[in-house]
Symmetry: C2
Subunit: 340 residues, 2 copies
Amino acid sequence: MAAERASRGQRRPTILDIANEAGVSKGLVSMVLSGASGPSAATAERVVAIAERLGYRTNRTAALLARRRTRLLGVTIIPSNIYHGELIEDIQEAADAAGYELVLGSIAGSRDELRTIEMLIDFRCEALLLVGPTVAAHKLAPIIADVPTVCVGRVLDLPDVDVVRSDDSKGMGAVADHLVSLGHRRIAHVDGGPGVIADGRRRAYRAAMKRHQLEPLVLRGGLTERLGALALDALGESSGITAIMAFNDRTAIGIVDRLERQNVTVPGEISVTGFDDSILARHSRIDLTTVNQAPEEQARMAVAAAIERLDAGRTERREIVLPANLIVRGSTSSPPSQAL
Amino acid sequence: MAAERASRGQRRPTILDIANEAGVSKGLVSMVLSGASGPSAATAERVVAIAERLGYRTNRTAALLARRRTRLLGVTIIPSNIYHGELIEDIQEAADAAGYELVLGSIAGSRDELRTIEMLIDFRCEALLLVGPTVAAHKLAPIIADVPTVCVGRVLDLPDVDVVRSDDSKGMGAVADHLVSLGHRRIAHVDGGPGVIADGRRRAYRAAMKRHQLEPLVLRGGLTERLGALALDALGESSGITAIMAFNDRTAIGIVDRLERQNVTVPGEISVTGFDDSILARHSRIDLTTVNQAPEEQARMAVAAAIERLDAGRTERREIVLPANLIVRGSTSSPPSQAL
DNA sequence: TAAATTCTTTGAACCGGTTTAAAGCCGTGT
DNA sequence: ACACGGCTTTAAACCGGTTCAAAGAATTTA
């Protein structure tokens, strides 16, 4: 604990200091400290004791440079996105367990997604996990040509990039089934605007409506509460709509807010659903019926996919699709009887 | 753009490859690429062209090892804490502007705060920013003895650690003034349980009550919605309380939820306030009167404090206290008239 | 034209570890 | 006494840059 080298500004002890103190070569010290078999028990003990007394900590930079492998996984993250945060915690856990270290590249300030990825590669991460990347595939491809990459949470069609995502299509289907089973017949979808993820969910909504022989109605929404609320303006007063499937939780929350300000009760008059099961949806004052994407599972699979490439030498592409689970909460109920 | 070295698995080009190709020494290449004055314009141009053609990127690990300075700032972060996320984005921006790079150490999985800090030091960060650290001062002290450290968001009494925080005391005072000016006389405080921050706010509440010659009433709460709600159980039915100042937004939200489930309207019958101005408080369905801690400002000051030590050689401790601003929203109003 | 000055470039040391071939040491079998 | 095989330990190369004193080339000055 209490290291010898007391005061600030002191040079940190190196492996050479230990070697001199112990009267052995620095190579031997390195072997002892990395737990390699070879050094005798007696020597090992002596070296470890000295290392401890000197308060030695291995210089990671030097170690990374010298070693072939870095055992570093790079992850892109938008810090202000709470869903990313939750995912990161799970990824961290999985990486820990596998003996890998995480380098977080935050997409913020003057650094866009591409520059963040370059930064992670510069740090010599052995693999990259891209959380819900927004960058276009053709821009991404040349940059990650050398690095095993896993895309988490969305479709990405690049020959060498693994994908781990949830089954949005099934999720949307389950939401539709739930609403239909409650008795809803006029169900609208407020979409997530342009973007790959939104496209997929919109398509899934349409398919579900068709399956139930209902008329689809898609309203242009977006990724934020505000855009969700605005989408309702396109909806006439007497549209007969009794339920709205929103693109995600934020969109849904915007919708609920707008409806209640217009004195339309939720779920009394109109039921509303989200997607993501974010911490907001779980909140008792919001209490949204939504779809859980099993972030812990996604995190585990993503880390596993990366490590398979690194440690097991897998080279063929994999796409892992996890189930999306309907979570029924208080924002959905049977439609008002007079609506029939 | 399109680098020569095409396929995967290829060795990345090094500075030596460029030197050979250009027929110069590697030292010269290094000077060119780091923009040092010295190399002739002609040589520089040639080297840069070759570097580009080869798709060269400098190996950060090697550069860090060789250079004296790393220009790395280490930041601890709890990824699932949305407030941390927002703060990180601002810190990132400030660091960018000052030419420093951020290394994020996420406190998650099997890694507690101390191990995260050690990790950041192992990466040779030149300074640390600890966001709302929870670790005890005496455990922290020996670890950070060598590294300039800034504590963000709470009091921390260590001789060599700078502190950047908001003026909780003034903030609580402003909340109290606001409630009193609305006509409230019976104002309770649901605290944040044990902990340095909670202690400070409790003290500030007491002082404000004294200033207004009102009777203080402190209820034991905590850091989560649930603990906030539970605190109300200690409150008798006819306590006469017309306003509650909660420790922070989460606590407040728990309180609001509980009150409304008991058919007590907010703010009609009881006004409730939070602290933090988190994204939740801003939400229109929650719409909480609260206190903004100016996270962007804290971020800027914290980065500035670290850089002052690194670049300007400051050694004396600094404690920067920023104003905390009352944000009035819909969860407070005049008390019901019959309460008088 | 030689000397002095300035501009470029080189070569080697260095950062702090890891890795491995080879050397040293020891006990054993003959 | 000598060769042999199994531990330990060493010495040196290496990772990929940075840095700087000194050498070399080009230019100016005397």
